[in-house]
Symmetry: C2
Subunit: 154 residues, 2 copies
């Protein structure tokens, strides 16, 4: 029998979780070599948590400890209809390799299904083949499409 | 002096425009070699036109003739905040090479700016370098990120 502390839990973050989320985002960006702007991240988290219709953030706990987070954002396309992006998914290094990543993908799929969504997208960095392998094992195909961005404020 | 018929116009599509949009989507997918499902496209157009909060479709007219269409859909990410996807952009072959594509990108940027958005994204097919060049000239960077999809209904 599993002890309660071993349980895996996804808890939707509220405004009071902003500090722990900001800390996790910082860890994630450092791990991925992405530039981290603390003020911009705080502002984006404030916006996201204030607008549930734009998506949500979930804290992932394992054995009662904070293991990571996932951010899911809904969108729409003519090709797929209602869709969901795994905007960010991060597991602290100590919590990897034990199936938590796959459980997070299953959680995202369930959440999308409950919201009538038929497709989940994720954007991976070209220099991160491990992430692509992870998502491929999780049922994600493609990677024959490029994601391009124009910043209007740059 | 430009004659009125030469003018370029972007008109937000309403429900009554569904037939012409469906025709243009079919032309676009045929041009791009994408599978076209008429019933699915009609359903997606119905959804989009009924939910302006999910985005919109605009008919592009040049000299009073239908030149193409563009679909813009808002989304949110922690990295960029509020953002907009150029979900689909199509110009009929007879209307290419005259700056209409660039004008459509500028239109998308203005619409995004009016909506407080700081980044526009577009997804291009790996086997379509011409599209990537077009978007690069239009100020889109990246293409170092892969766009992956998991269909939940497959």
């Amino acid at each position: 029998m599993k002890r309660k502390e071993d349980a895996l839990a996804f808890r939707r973050a509220g405004r009071e979780d902003r500090p722990v989320l900001a800390r996790l985002v910082r860890e994630y960006y450092a791990f991925d070599g992405l530039p981290f702007d603390a003020a911009a991240t705080r502002a984006a988290l404030r916006e996201l948590l204030a607008h549930p219709e734009w998506g949500g953030a979930w804290l992932i706990a394992s054995g009662g400890r904070t293991a990571g987070y996932v951010v899911l954002t809904p969108c729409f396309s003519l090709e797929f209809g209602r869709e969901v992006f795994i905007d960010e998914l991060y597991l602290r290094p100590a919590f990897r390799g034990g199936g938590l990543g796959r459980a997070a993908l299953d959680f995202a799929a369930r959440w999308a299904g409950h919201n009538g969504v038929a497709a989940i997208h994720v954007v991976t960095e070209r220099n991160n083949p491990a992430a692509r392998r992870f998502y491929r094992r999780g049922g994600f195909g493609g990677a024959h499409r490029y994601f391009m961005t124009r910043r209007l404020d740059a």
